[in-house]
Symmetry: C2
Subunit: 409 residues, 2 copies
């Protein structure tokens, strides 16, 4: 009997996509489904960067340099300068999406059975890359009560073992929308230096920081060897399908090792690199409109949610996600019920159960993640659906309110 591998068995299916068949069934019944479940922005991809591909003079679409086209890496040096990050073209390795940057980081820095600490709830696909690399994810819990701030350093200290090699942070955070403060980033630096840990910093949502200062891990001084930045153009330019990211580090040994993994897969996508290069030439004002739009959506979403009885949603400082606590028995059941059994005026809403974002079993049962990737009108309609649904959901429970007025807009 042929067997699949142990990691093939352990590999978690996408918690975000597991509800898709229920959504498809609902749509076949003629129900309109508002998708707040995935981080696929509806913002237009800048036409100028698609035009760059259209206008490119290509006779042979050749492999690029394994680290990505030199011309693109030089452009990225300019881009990073605009966000206060000093880096050279030889410290940037172009990847196939942020995903590949994460995989390269794990493969390059961590041995099988090494441990990586990640504040939960966290981006679920870190689990997948950890399984691929044979690495153990050790979650420490952040809490909705304080808006998912960085857990206290003592929580990190408690779980650090001889096998701990790295901390992963996503800033601004997916799924919580939390924006780490300078103080929190400095706390991460202190613990990384003290325990000799890598700091893997996923900054996919850099451009979408709304309240307070954005602090990159590469802004921190005195820890050049520790930081690996995992980046992507997916959200920055609403170009998720391009599959274009970057692995950025000042640690030469790490860069050189990651480069060997990059050489094995030959090169990152060629057409996407043309887009990426053109994107750096967009005017600085380009981000004003999407950012204003996301802020308006966030404000609407958070207000609507907190006005629903028994619901609590801290105000996220960045990205385009919010986590809400709902008066429900089980978020997986609730999200499935929304698609299978509920509709109002032939409409319903699709949410991501928070359970998939926690590493600790049992957590997230009363929480959902909402991606505000729809326009204000649709978002408002989706909130109407959710409000009605919570009134009639059979598994409704009265939760003790955790509302913290300061956390609310």
């Amino acid at each position: 009997m042929l067997e699949i591998s142990e990691r093939g068995k352990q590999m978690p299916p996408s918690p975000i996509r597991k509800l898709v068949p229920y959504a498809e069934t609902a749509k076949k019944k003629g129900i309109k489904v508002y998708h707040l479940n995935i981080g696929q922005p509806d913002i237009e991809t800048p036409p100028a960067i698609l035009d760059a591909v259209r206008d490119a003079d290509i006779r042979v679409l050749e492999y690029s340099h394994s680290a990505g086209n030199e011309s693109y890496r030089k452009k990225l040096v300019q881009y990073y300068k605009t966000v206060g990050i000093d880096i050279t073209k030889d410290q940037i390795l172009i990847t196939t999406g942020g995903s590949e940057a994460i995989l390269f980081g794990f493969l390059t820095c961590l041995n099988p059975r090494d441990e990586v600490i990640i504040p939960e709830p966290f981006y679920a696909n870190y689990n997948g890359f950890a399984v691929a690399a044979g690495v153990k994810v050790v979650p420490i819990t952040s809490n909705i009560e304080n808006g998912f701030a960085l857990p206290p350093i003592s929580d990190f200290e408690t779980v650090i073992t001889a096998n701990t090699k790295a901390i992963v942070v996503c800033n601004p955070n997916n799924p919580t929308g939390y924006l780490y403060s300078r103080q929190e980033m400095e706390a991460l630096k202190t613990i990384c230096l003290k325990h000799n840990l890598y700091l893997f910093s996923d900054e996919a949502y850099r451009e979408f920081a709304y309240s307070g200062e954005y602090v990159s891990a590469l802004h921190l001084t005195g820890m050049d060897d520790n930081v690996v930045l995992m980046d992507t153009v997916s959200k920055r330019y609403s170009a998720c399908g391009a599959r274009l990211g970057a692995f950025v580090t000042r640690n030469k040994a790490v860069y050189d090792a990651a480069m060997k993994f990059a050489q094995a897969r030959l090169s990152p996508p060629g057409l996407a690199q043309i887009m990426g290069e053109a994107a750096v030439d967009l005017p600085a004002s380009y981000f004003d409109a999407p950012k204003a739009e996301y802020i308006a959506r966030r404000n609407l979403l958070v207000k609507r949610l907190n006005n629903m009885p028994g619901v609590f949603c801290p105000n996220p400082g960045g990205a385009f996600y919010a986590m809400a606590q709902l008066p429900i028995d089980d978020s997986d059941k609730f999200c499935q019920w929304l698609l299978e059994e509920f509709s109002v005026n032939n409409r319903t809403v699709m949410l991501a159960p928070a359970t998939g974002f926690y590493g600790t079993p049992g957590l997230g049962k009363k929480e959902v993640r909402l991606a505000y990737v729809l326009n204000l009108k649709d978002l408002d309609d989706a909130m109407d659906c959710l409000e009605k649904a919570l009134q009639v959901y059979p598994g409704r429970t009265e939760v003790k309110s955790v509302k913290n007025e300061e956390a609310i807009l």
Copy 2:
């Protein structure tokens, strides 16, 4: 002290790219370098498939389905039919190049420390993916004397252990150009069924089979669960930079597990999928011209090589590579010397030392791989360079000729 991982240390640098700095130095001195070292074809990417991208109406470049766009997978079902492979859209998983298909195969089917048998010389990047997956490559040696035919089954039997889980073949072969016969493919089937092994079949060069019948691993009957096909559009449509491949299997458990790895990285490149879809609509006659061109080049190359004293080059049945035995002390030294110290009329040639394609240390020292990816005129000029170089190379040795008249064109 921060350390990189063991696999980061073990990861081999690209043997093909390690000579690049010497080539760059040569070019700076004004020397023209004929690149026969890499499989980057000079054949034009079909304008129609680039036009498909130019004409695509894209408002938001979204993530595609993790298995690739359904429309593209349906098209590929048609394509595979034209090459005699019956497969459904749900047995095709679109990947980022053939590279990712190989990685998914290793991660999905093999545990760390499992062994995979590969006839050597083999595509060097298999080593890289094996290190990434913690898998051990066990080479069995094929020989230039018989044109690198499949080693006898007894050679496989000798190295099979309880840890052996798979065989990898590349057909037509990179780096040897060898095209496996039906009899050889059937022999692989017998041994896979007997020992319960996966057959990973890399068929990147399918369209370029010149002598004899092309037999896909998916043409073999009675072993549906064993076969994983690793495919790519890179060479088929001269679109290496697109990074578009496919993982194809009738084994549902393997497919489902690979799909979880695919979900973790979200989706394959979006613009490339538009190209791939358009490519299936190219007329069947599209391949006539590149194939005729490659055959003409092969004929020239093999004839020129075998006319050089002390050189032997078997006639490859497919792909666009040839392996030649040269009267030299060490192929690594020779290839470096060609770039560093040799030139004739301000020209030299860049070749790939065969040592990088062998898993057994010490093999390949008298062999080089030549990729016939230049037009006939340049190829002829490159052969002039090589002929002169062999006359004056200080490390020239007289080798016992292994010429086999039947193997020569």
